[in-house]
Each structure stands twice: as C-alpha cells, then as structure tokens.
C-alpha cells in the first residue's frame, strides 16, 4: 500500500489509490478515529456498478454509523473480506489492511483532493 502522502482523498474522508484502471478505496485514519471502534462493515458485492457519490456500504462503530460513498464511477472488482471478518482493521490500519473495495474506473478521476488539501480540510 502507498504512503498517505501518495494517496488522493475525498471530502467524505475516503482515500483512493489509483493503479492503472483500478482504484482502491478506504477511509482515512481521521475518519476511523472519529468513528471509534469499527464493529461492522458492509461492502457491495463484486460486480456491482457504483456511481460517484452514492452510498455503497456501511461502516458501523459502537457509537455511530458511517456510510461509504463511491468516490468514483466504476464496477466493484474486489472487496476486502478480511475487513468484513475483522472490522477492527479499519482502525488499526486504515491506509493498508483496512482497505475496503477495488473499483475499475473508466478513466482519469476528477475532483479528488491531494494529501495537503485533505490535511487542510481536517485542520492538520
């Protein structure tokens, strides 16, 4: 997995790693910390077409429910079964083993935030 500085971000506190025509999506350490201990993750099935901005999954902590938004248009090609079985991976390694889904993307993605822009957004 890439270092946080090399990832792109959304204002919904997701990170995106683009490799070729595949985007890997997770939530940021900031989001994981705000949620608290994640106890349940629901992800879309492989093959699902997702549309940017639409809810595709849920991340529940003991205290609250967070929605996973598709940050891009595309088709789900892989989901992280490990994180479904062990939701605490979202807290312990949000940028690595806590990744959520991989989506094939038709082309370049517009409108994502750089590391610095995201850091400014969360006030760090």
């Amino acid at each position: 997995m890439a270092a946080p500085q090399e990832l792109q971000y959304t204002a919904e506190h997701e990170w995106i790693l683009v490799e070729g025509d595949t985007a890997t999506v997770g939530i940021t350490a900031y989001a994981a910390e705000k949620l608290g201990d994640v106890v349940f993750v629901e992800l879309p099935a492989v093959g699902t077409d997702v549309a940017e901005g639409k809810v595709v999954g849920e991340i529940e902590s003991t205290k609250s429910v967070g929605e996973l938004f598709a940050p891009v248009n595309g088709t789900v090609v892989e989901v992280n079964d490990d994180v479904v079985a062990s939701p605490e991976l979202v807290n312990s390694d949000p940028f690595g083993a806590g990744w959520l889904i991989k989506v094939t993307i038709p082309g370049a993605i517009e409108g994502l935030l750089s590391y610095d822009e995201y850091a400014a957004l969360i006030g760090e």
């Binding site: 910390e33 608290g36 106890v39 349940f40 529940e60 003991t62 205290k63 429910v65």
Partner: protein, 449 residues
Amino acid sequence: MEHAPIPPTVKVVILRIAAKLSGRTTEGEFLKRVSSEARHTLVWLWPTKTGELMTSSDTPPAEERLSPLHQAHLDAGASFTDFAGWQMPVRYSSDLAEHHAVRTAAGLFDLSHMGEIVVIGPEAGAALDYALAGSLSAIAIDQAKYSLLLSRSGGIVDDLVVYRTGEDRFMVVANASNREVVANELRDRTAPFDAEVFDESDDIALIAVQGPASLDILRSVGAFAVEGGALDGEDFAERLAALRYYWSLPATFDQHPVLVARTGYTGEDGFELYIAPDLAPSLWNVLLQAGEAHGLVPAGLASRDTLRLEAGMPLYGHELGLELFPAQAGLGRIVNLGKEVDFVGRAASEIGPEADARVLVGLTGDGKRAARAGYEVYRTAHDSQAADSQRPIGIVTSGALSPTLGVPVAMAYVEPASAEPGTELAVDIRGTRFSYTVTALPFYSRKKN
C-alpha cells in the same frame, strides 16, 4: 482570600472533621484554614457540631463548560464530545478496550458534568418526600437511593441518585442536562418546608472507579482516610470493603473531604467519588497510578453508554422522558404510592398510563446489525403489504453491538402485546428488517461473590 459575609438565608455546611483533625491544628486554626480554602474544599456535605460556614462559590458558569479534569484528559489524548454543553471525553483510545477494561479490571470516569444539588434543613427529608417519587426521609444517614423527579402529570423530569449525608441534609445528583430544571423544581417544591436548596454542581467534581478491581485500587491509595478517623488509611480500607451497594462513606483525600459512594452506572462493582474541583486532578492522577497495576484505564462516555446499556440501565432522553410514566420504563417500584404523604405527580401516578401505552423492553438480535435509537420496531421481519407488517409497534431508544455479548442489543418501547420475553420482533435498520427477540433486562449481570 476574603470571604463574603454569610447571607442570613444561606445555611451552611461544614466538616465534622474540623475539631477531629487536631493534634496538629486547633479547631480555631482549622476553621480559619477551611475558610481560606473554602472555594476548593467540599465543606457542605456533612454537618458539624462546631458551627456553620459559608462555602458556596459564586463562580459564574463558563461559556464553554470544561471539566476540572480537562487538562488531564488532554494529556491522556482523549477525544471529546459535547455532552449537555460540556466538553467531555468520549474515549481515550478505544471504546471497546475501555468497555472491556471495566468488565474485567477497572475504568476511571470523569463525571464532573453531573449536577449536585444539596437540600439542607430540619425538614429536608419531608421536603424530598414531597418533591420526589420515593420515600427519602426513610433512608439512613450515608445511605443512597435511586429516585425520580416527576411532573404533576406523572411524567419523568429526571432520574436521580439521592445521598443522605446527614440527619438534615441530602445530595441530589441529577443528569447534567437537567441540572437547572431539577434545582428549580426542588426550590419550588421544597419552599413550604424548612429546608433550603443549593445548586453545588460547579463546586463538586465527580470521579467514578468502576470494575471488579475497584475495591483493591481504592484500598491501595494511602491518601484516603475515614472522615474523622485515623489518618493511617487502614480504617478506610476496612470500612470501604464493608461498604454496601448504595451506601456512602464520608472520607478524606489528602485531608480534604471526599464522599466515597458504592454506586455506579456500569453494572459492575465500583465507587463514585465526590470531591472539590481543585482536588479532582490530584485524585484522578493518584487513582490512575494506583490502578495501573490492576489494569485500570481512563474510560470515556462512549464506553459508559455501552456499559449501562448492557446493564439495562435507562438513560434520560433515551429511555426516560417527560412524556413517559415510570411504570412504562419498568420503574414503577421507584414510585412509592405507599407513602402516607402527598408528592408531586402522585395523583397522576395512581391513575397511571393507558393500558395500551408502550413499555420498555430489551431486544437481542443475532448477527452484527445494531438497532439504534429512533429505528422502528415491527411485529414481523417480513416486509409485506399486509397492514400488520406495515404498522410500527415500537421504537428503539438505545442500541449497540454489545461488546461483552457479541450480539446486538437494544432497548425499545413496544406495545404491551409484544412485550413478553421471547416474542419475535423485527427492527428496520436503514431500510432492511432484522429479527430481534424480546429479552428480559438486564442483558448482562456481573457474577456476584
């Protein structure tokens, strides 16, 4: 520091320890010292034979309410949440770790946001018998009692723990969000009695040690002594071990007063310590250090919420509210219709709720999907066009994936016809129905020795 003259209307409060701490100070010197320290010394709680002293500070409420332990929380890396206008720790590291620590070892909670309202006077007991749903005049000195403040129409204004700290005085502990309404109601309701009401919330901090290791941790702190007793702490350790649930022990910490009560809101053994705000940080640090070897960790409000939920304890604003009768919340026993005097809400309580009024139940699910506050309850998991399937029969008031039990648990108000334990119901969790079974509360009870 100069002390304001004692207003004639203000009855005061002072330490019984005054004369007894001597050997090192004369009574007069001690009183002078107490006077100079009055703003940070808990001198209201228990009575003295030696006199009265004005102690209430006139500190105006801060714009942004911070606990006297705020710096300790920052140092510990806490995340904060707004709770009833207070910035309080929601967690330090992990909700789950803090929850498990309380179930298996101990947790340290800052509850300084709670309201402490002191009622003092020859008729304080009778005044509270009229103001509250229970029979408070019947409890012994040092005893505590869970009670309710009812509206005239029988609804729940707040739930309270009342401590009797002297023949003529009681401390009423209210939820932070209800502090002012409770203080005002108590003032109004006790006006006809020879008793006075003081909102001491700003001058009292509250620290809770909860969990099976609590007793050992408190016993290991050398700075505690029984109020008025020997200062070697041995007496304290013995008295603490003998202290029964819902009883309290007037004590000292570094020779300053602290009320140590065997009460709590987690379903575990534990203690709540009422102390002056200035002394709270040093008590907090001493407890953290003493507790370290026993597995104690600081614990935030997130774990407190899942702990009390597992223990089936209601939370004001969730399971309790003005529109609910105690009987609906399973608290009918708290309303003492047997007492021979009138009390606010009595007439309405005697009539009680409508026969078909919803009642509080526990719900247990399987899987991992937590029913949360506000979700609707249905009779059937099958979402069909049938009228019976479409009509909600209840609403969830609290819910989480139980950290101890590993299954989702919730409390909900449901129609009485669906309230029997074992009844299969369903909760609509964001558009999908999941099966839940009505379960007798609490979900979790500790093993008692």
